[in-house]
Symmetry: C2
Subunit: 343 residues, 2 copies
């Protein structure tokens, strides 16, 4: 059940479609800018085969969600967005490194309908591109005037957290005794750390004061976790046509999402036993409705959705530290946008 | 043929065995110190599986050749070796990252008689340990008082060069038109860059002046390349029992060493044709003497050995910029030691 506050947030998110125009236009501009900067930055890679792989990787043209956050935070804090381009590239490189490694670990052949890097160019080249991206990320961060060292430290700490989060996520598959806190720690490391770092880097580029940096770090952290939880929920309740993949993939893969962890903690012994039979079943198909019904019997999907909504509301409160501006409004919209997806 | 100068260097190296006592004792001390620092630094890794893999990796207790260079350069430049510990850890982490990735690329099951990390703990954990090591390297470099940013830049540039060098080395296997310069560029990136960075980091930690930093950068660069070339020569001429692996492995693997590149440039058409039939032949065995004879017919092994010796002599000249000290003597010995190995 949604609390009245949560219901109001939900209402606002679902009816605010028209408000995203400014966000989407701006995101397109940022995407173009960042793509051009990446292309320029990669001209130093002269070895034909390596260059081709790097070009292929960035031709995929991701949404550049994290650079958007870096630039918009910098502007919202009164800075010059040009100063924020190096850290925006740094976080984007780190993000792409993590995608390459995730795809290698999952042995995924495709991402968003394109071949993954290691599938297309082999393990060796994928490894080298990853190392190269990490180096370029560090190099970009170290170029930021005034706050280079802190930026580099944020980057290194974030990369470390991402390793820890990915490792925890993998090890969760073998554990049935997980706590909500275990999940939140994993998500904080695996997903939220880079959102938070993006905000911190933007604020540093704008020479923001310490309380503002901390507030925006918390904003990034909370939208990151909300986003991760929302993904878990969509896996169970989205329109599969819009989602672009079958429902229940996380259950088939035996993933310990927040929904599953809440269920395992609250279900009776028989339900728990039955659900564990279904969890990790690759050919789940006809049994999916039963799995979803079990998760609904303990209101676990609702619990996860409400957790995401609460985090989103808390995240937006942190924005109050910034002076009113079009950029601050964009950050509000950005938060809503992450959770307005119904697919 | 050795020039008289080269013959003198060779003589000095081969008869200087007793002089290495100070070096070996010191190397043992540095190794113990660095191992203890690594162990302490890794206590922050709390995830059991990840911790186990990291512990396994460093239990191998490499020779810590690069930290030795960092600490000794710092001391030779009048600095406090304590200040040089963070960058010494940084270069050692970067070195280990490169070993992990090299082993994954070559799919090597063993290194120095121990299982490689990916063989023992799987690809996923090996990838995460690599990412973690890179982050720890950046973190350590960013901790150096006064010169943190430059240290971080040196590290990132070096890591980039190592990727480029490894990529070039891999692509050499498909090329028969290589120049001596191509080899030297590859070796400079793949091997020498980290030796050079080790010297630069040590000098920075000691607040050395710019000409001294440049001289020691050149020292590191040249001993690194000499070391790499010497390795190529040993593969053809060492005592296989002492080498711990069969001779001619590089030829079996089709590697374009300096010896091979020199041969391909200078041999007549018939010799070249015959050698290319043997190069990359996994079951070379009985044909190895023929391959070696072909390489000797153009004095290509001699050419490589002389190149290494010349680089070594040039390297040591750069040390003259430092004031006389026990540490400077150790750097002299270090250079000789890299090439005194007959296995």
């Amino acid at each position: 059940m949604l609390t009245p506050q949560e219901a109001a947030i939900m209402q606002q998110i679902q009816t605010s479609g028209a408000d995203f125009t400014a966000l989407l236009l701006r995101a397109k501009d940022v995407g173009r800018l960042i793509d051009a900067e990446i292309e320029r930055d990669m001209t130093e890679v002269e070895q034909a085969g390596l260059r081709e792989a790097v070009t292929f990787l960035f031709e995929g043209r991701g949404k550049r969600l994290r650079p958007f956050l870096v630039l918009t935070c910098a502007q919202a804090a009164g800075g010059d967005p040009k100063d924020a381009i190096p850290p925006a590239l740094a976080v984007e490189y780190l993000h792409n490194l993590s995608l390459i490694h995730d795809d290698m670990m999952d042995n995924s052949g495709e991402r968003h309908g394109r071949a993954t890097l290691h599938t297309r160019y082999g393990l060796n080249t994928a490894l080298l591109v990853g190392d190269l991206l990490y180096s370029k990320a560090v190099e970009q961060a170290s170029r930021v005037p005034r706050h280079a060292i802190r930026m580099v430290e944020v980057l290194a700490t974030t990369a470390k957290k991402m390793c820890i989060g990915q490792f925890e996520d993998m090890s969760f598959e073998r554990r049935d005794d997980l706590l909500i806190e275990d999940y939140l720690h994993m998500a904080s490391c695996k997903t939220s750390a880079l959102y938070s770092a993006s905000c911190v880097c933007g604020m540093l580029a704008a020479d923001a004061d310490e309380p503002s940096i901390e507030a925006l770090a918390a904003f990034g952290e909370k939208i990151g976790t909300a986003f991760q939880i929302w993904d878990d929920v969509l896996d169970l309740q989205a329109d599969p046509l819009q989602l672009g993949k079958p429902l229940g993939l996380d259950i088939r893969e035996g993933k310990k999402t927040l929904v599953v962890i809440h269920f395992l903690k609250t279900a009776d012994a028989a339900s728990r036993k039955r659900f564990l039979e279904l969890l990790g079943k690759r050919d789940l198909n006809g049994d999916l409705p039963e799995a979803v019904a079990l998760l609904e019997s303990t209101a676990s999907i609702e619990f996860a959705r409400n957790t995401a909504l609460r985090l989103l509301a808390e995240a937006k409160e942190h924005l109050a530290i910034l002076p009113p501006s079009a950029s601050r409004d964009l950050l509000h919209q950005y938060a809503d946008f992450l959770l307005q997806r119904s697919y």
